[in-house]
């Protein structure tokens, strides 16, 4: 077999596996979020489909969505309307190319890893604006404008918060950053960076308290208001995929990725495989983000923009300066 065919075959196999992961993950998280939200609100959540815990609820949802009529409103911008669900779904899958699930369990360890993540995820904003504008609905246009202002305001702190771990590890490769955290997770030396990353990440995901673009009580559903059936479901597939992606990147940068906690003795570290550590940390962060969503009320748009530009942005810049200033101290302490 020619070498290029082998390369291509492997790539298709890896892409299919990741696609499977993204889909299974969305099924699981839809169920998990509904159960978790119910728990917080003293309800029981879904329990009929797949007794006793409603674990088949998401599967039922999939079949319902597949069999729903695909209503395309009369006055939409046809091309943009059709393309928007695809444009939002593709980057949500592309991010996983560089996510290190384990020491050897990574699709491709690009040497510009984290820059690639920043570049790919910024397409989400374009898709949201496309969807909102194409629908020719007043709610969705307002939603798209809000989403643009919000994603733009929080993208800057997000990419700046990443610089801290990059400075400490001296590489943009995600696998390199994980390996550099063998002695100590970066959350210990980058607490500010971690908080900025998580907050800005939640805003990038359009999750409460930053869900202004889909504020149900004022905008009905926001940019996806005129979508139905399978087309609509791609927005949600992408949202849950991005939720895991943000948590996975945060895990990689600040929580040591697939590394076991540094303080454990070597004998204990060997007991649990790295991929389990990685998934445990990632889903822990996913749950924290859900917990915050179901606890805090939505912010107003002026509060949102103030918080991003006047607080998170200066803090993320200060984090870079602090990291640089304290670097000799960290080296002296033997922490880096």
């Amino acid at each position: 077999m020619p070498a290029w065919l082998v390369t291509l075959g492997w790539a298709v196999l890896k892409a299919s596996l990741i696609l499977g992961f993204v889909l299974f993950n969305a099924l699981f998280l839809v169920w998990w979020e509904r159960k978790f939200a119910a728990r917080i609100q003293s309800r029981v959540g879904p329990q009929r489909t797949g007794r006793p815990f409603g674990y088949l609820q998401s599967m039922a949802d999939v079949f319902k969505l597949l069999s729903k009529e695909d209503v395309v409103p009369a006055r939409v911008d046809r091309w943009m309307y059709v393309l928007a669900p695809i444009v939002i779904f593709v980057p949500a899958v592309l991010v996983y190319v560089v996510v290190p699930f384990g020491p050897n369990l990574i699709v491709q360890d690009l040497n510009i890893g984290i820059l690639y993540v920043a570049a790919v995820t910024s397409f989400t904003m374009i898709a949201i604006v496309m969807a909102g504008w194409a629908a020719n609905n007043k709610y969705s246009v307002v939603s798209a404008m809000r989403a643009a202002a919000q994603l733009v305001a929080y993208e800057v702190p997000l990419v700046l918060a990443v610089i801290g771990p990059v400075m400490l590890a001296g590489t943009l490769s995600l696998q390199g950053i994980v390996r550099a955290q063998e002695g100590l997770w970066y959350i210990v030396v980058q607490p500010l960076g971690f908080l900025v990353f998580l907050t800005a990440g939640m805003a990038e995901l359009n999750r409460a308290p930053f869900d202004l673009s889909e504020a149900e009580s004022e905008l009905v559903a926001g940019y996806n208001i005129e979508y139905s059936g399978m087309r609509w479901s791609f927005f949600f597939l992408a949202e849950f995929s991005n939720l895991v992606a943000v948590s996975a990147i945060a895990t990689t940068l600040f929580l040591g990725g697939w590394q076991a906690p540094w303080f454990l003795p070597a004998a204990v570290k060997g007991l649990i495989p790295p991929v389990v550590w990685f998934l445990a940390k990632t889903y822990f962060l996913v749950t924290v983000i859900m917990w915050i969503r179901w606890t805090l009320p939505r912010v107003r748009i002026d509060q949102l923009l103030d918080f991003g530009w006047k607080f998170l942005l200066p803090v993320s810049l200060a984090n870079i300066a602090l990291t640089g200033l304290l670097f000799p101290v960290l080296v002296r302490l033997g922490w880096i």
């Binding site: 298709v12 695909d70 695809i86 820059l115 629908a135 007043k138 610089i163 870079i320 300066a321």
Partner: protein
């Protein structure tokens, strides 16, 4: 080196065709009977008034401009972050001067009221 990006391209193609495949599959399952009322734009049950694509608030434009400045700045900081150790104090001071210039810009925008929404 470019061989690494074969994966990226394959992911791009596969992720792009997946929605099309599911939509085609759903075509076999879903009903299709469009009606004029069903194809109308949703506006809380009222008949929609006017166009949705009107001029949007100028305030969004100012924030977009600020974003361009700071996002480009971030692109300059990335390579510096990688070489931070090698460059030493000299590199650190130079980068702090660069950031300081941008912070002055942010303060200017703040004082001018560009960051105020109300």
């Amino acid at each position: 080196m470019p061989a690494q990006y074969v994966d990226v391209v394959v992911f791009l193609v596969l992720a792009g065709t997946f929605p099309l495949i599911t939509l085609a599959f759903g075509y076999l399952l879903r009903p299709k009977n469009p009606a004029p009322l069903k194809r109308g734009i949703y506006e809380c049950g009222e008949i929609p008034v006017g166009e949705a694509r009107i001029r949007f608030d100028i305030r969004y434009y100012v924030f977009a401009l600020l974003f361009v400045v700071f996002d480009v700045e971030a692109v300059f900081i990335y390579p510096w972050g990688v070489l931070f150790r090698e460059l030493g104090w000299y590199g650190f001071v130079v980068m702090m001067l660069f950031i300081e210039v941008l912070v002055v810009g942010l303060i200017y925008a703040y004082r001018k009221g560009a960051l105020r929404w109300a």
